[in-house]
């Protein structure tokens, strides 16, 4: 099958959906013809669809999302880009109080089919304000859906589903994934939210991982296979809704659980997944649950410091060995 990058897969999803549905449009800082998005995801789209539908905005994160909300509740399907996930902090009111709640508060009268695309993740030495992983903030907000694609295939299928869906979606990308290549069919497909993907089957231990960590988990699994240990890698693909069934099913099968996520450990993604297992599968667990995550620090700039805080293969392997 054809291989394209995660970046191209996202762009293809945007392009196909914009061609299909005139109510889809994009807005964000520097997404248009002059820059094509800080990570070039929207490159070339302004040329095809024009500046009206690929709209450069002022640096006004909260209003960008507010404008998307207003457009969404009046019949459009905006896809807003927040240039770095850290900057979503500026838009938390519009994301969490408005987009997420507008349907509920108004008793179901409104729907807000908007997508907020934003890149998370560390690894390129751009320090504390451009490297965080804040998925857990959004998971905690009812009314939002949260996507965390780890491959080009998932990126395209989930983004198309996000755009077609009728709920607000925070679509979390990862900076290090943009250049990653993978197989993506030419034809039309979407991936439903709430369906995990078992990225590797195994018998001895379940590793749940998201985004870039899926790749590290797969590498760890490969190394463990050399040692005769069979690791199952489950990628939830969306954190809200979360496919508990697949996760719990895997845990029941293996009896051991390691949860891996790049965000800070405390009250992060790994906490929720560990808690679910502790509630629903404790009798099947033969070992403590292990969480592999960022220690609770901001992301430092200097390469040796940054590498130290990002969870790596070694940390995953260590955790796996601890639960065996």
């Amino acid at each position: 099958m054809r291989k394209i990058t995660y970046r191209e897969a996202l762009r293809e999803a945007l392009r196909e959906e914009m061609r299909r549905d005139p109510s889809v449009f994009l807005l964000g800082e520097d997404i248009g013809r002059y820059w094509g998005g800080a990570f070039k995801v929207t490159d070339g789209l302004a040329e095809e669809f024009g500046d009206e539908r690929v709209r450069d905005t002022p640096i006004s994160e909260n209003a960008i999302i507010g404008v998307a909300v207003g457009a969404a509740i009046t019949g459009m399907r905006p896809v807003a880009e927040i240039m770095f996930g850290d900057l979503a902090a500026l838009a938390m009111d519009q994301i969490a109080n408005q987009a997420a709640k507008i349907r509920y508060m108004f008793g179901g009268q409104a729907k807000a089919p908007l997508v907020v695309r934003t890149p998370f993740g560390a690894g390129v030495n751009i320090a504390s304000h451009h490297s965080q992983s804040l998925e857990a903030w959004f998971m905690h907000v009812p009314g939002l859906h949260v996507a965390v694609p780890s491959t080009p295939y998932d990126a395209k299928g989930l983004l198309k589903a996000a755009i077609r869906g009728n709920n607000p979606v925070v679509f979390c990308e990862h900076k290090l994934l943009y250049p990653v290549e993978g197989e993506v069919p030419e034809g039309e497909y979407t991936i439903p939210f709430g369906v995990a993907d078992v990225k590797r089957e195994g018998e001895d231990v379940t590793v749940v991982a998201t985004l870039y960590m899926v790749h590290k988990a797969l590498k760890a699994a490969e190394k463990m296979a050399d040692e005769g240990i069979s690791v199952e890698v489950v990628d939830p693909r969306t954190l809200a809704p979360l496919d508990k069934k697949t996760i719990i099913g895997s845990v029941k099968k293996t009896g051991r659980l390691v949860v891996v996520s790049e965000d800070c450990k405390t009250a992060g993604v790994t906490a929720e997944i560990a808690a679910i297992a502790a509630e629903e599968a404790i009798d099947y667990l033969d070992a403590p649950i292990k969480r592999v995550a960022e220690p609770d620090t901001p992301i430092p700039f200097s390469p040796p410091l940054e590498q130290y805080v990002i969870p790596d293969e070694k940390a995953i392997i260590k955790a796996i060995k601890e639960v065996l």
Binding site: R53, T57, S60, G66, G70, I73, N97, M105
Partner: protein, 322 residues
Amino acid sequence: MHTADLPKEKLVEMYRLMLKIRLFEEKVFELYAQNLVPGTIHLYTGQEAVAVGVCSTLRKDDYITSTHRGHGHCIAKGADIKRVMAEILGKKTGYCKGKGGSMHIADFSIGMLGATAVVGAGIPIAVGAGLSVRLRKTDQVVACFFGDGASNQGTFHESINMAAVWRLPVIFVCENNLYAMGTRQSVVMAIENISDRAAAYGIPGVTVDGNDVLAVYEATFAAVERARKGGGPTLIECKTYRHRGHSRVDPAKYRPKEEVAAWLARDPVKRLKEKLLQSNVVAENMLEQIEKMVSAEIEEALKYALESPYPAPEEALEDVYV
């Protein structure tokens, strides 16, 4: 359109709407005193000329966004007061099935895009509706209501700037009732006219007597005309005053007695009534008849709301997602 050219029916209709808001709010106040209203309320009493002056220039398919002090906006845009009252009382028959309450009323069927209780949060939403109009190529306009206090929020700045540079059909209506809760404008702003902020975005700004419904109408009419033709947004500041405290518990002792008296003397409902009578637009008995009808409507709304059931508790779990 100059208000001198307004047909009699339009003037009478504006009066009827203002009176409806006034009497509705007085009724809510009564209910409140009887402990029949859960939560808090922010009454629109005293500001009727703004909502009515603005909404009277709009079509049914035009949009408005509203605030915590939103009953007047709803009614002026044409909402059914039965369902407004039911929502305020938390009933299943309310506009939001009891989920929203006084601070979150919406009626999408008449373009009332809802009230947000986060001060200033409705402003970018209005701009988004304006952008939607532009992208859908209709000639709708959006009126965005907010207070003097809200004009200090970052959203005010970000949103008006966007609407200005994109020339969107949005009318920003700042209801300057001189206070944000207990905070006088001069404590939080070094300027007197909030309309002066329009220049920061390169759009027209105007200050009008917000207790004169015709002044509000005239300024909005011009802004709406310009907006429909692609001329972009306008900031209209309406100086007005709330007759009561900020919310249920507030005796509003922070306001000087003379100030209150001066503004009560400029009651917008009375002023329009006097104008109608003086200019012989209508006879006094016709106004009395209107008052009776409006009162009856409100009683009916109240009855409807009181008799309506509460939602079933489990309904709390519905409407989170589509």
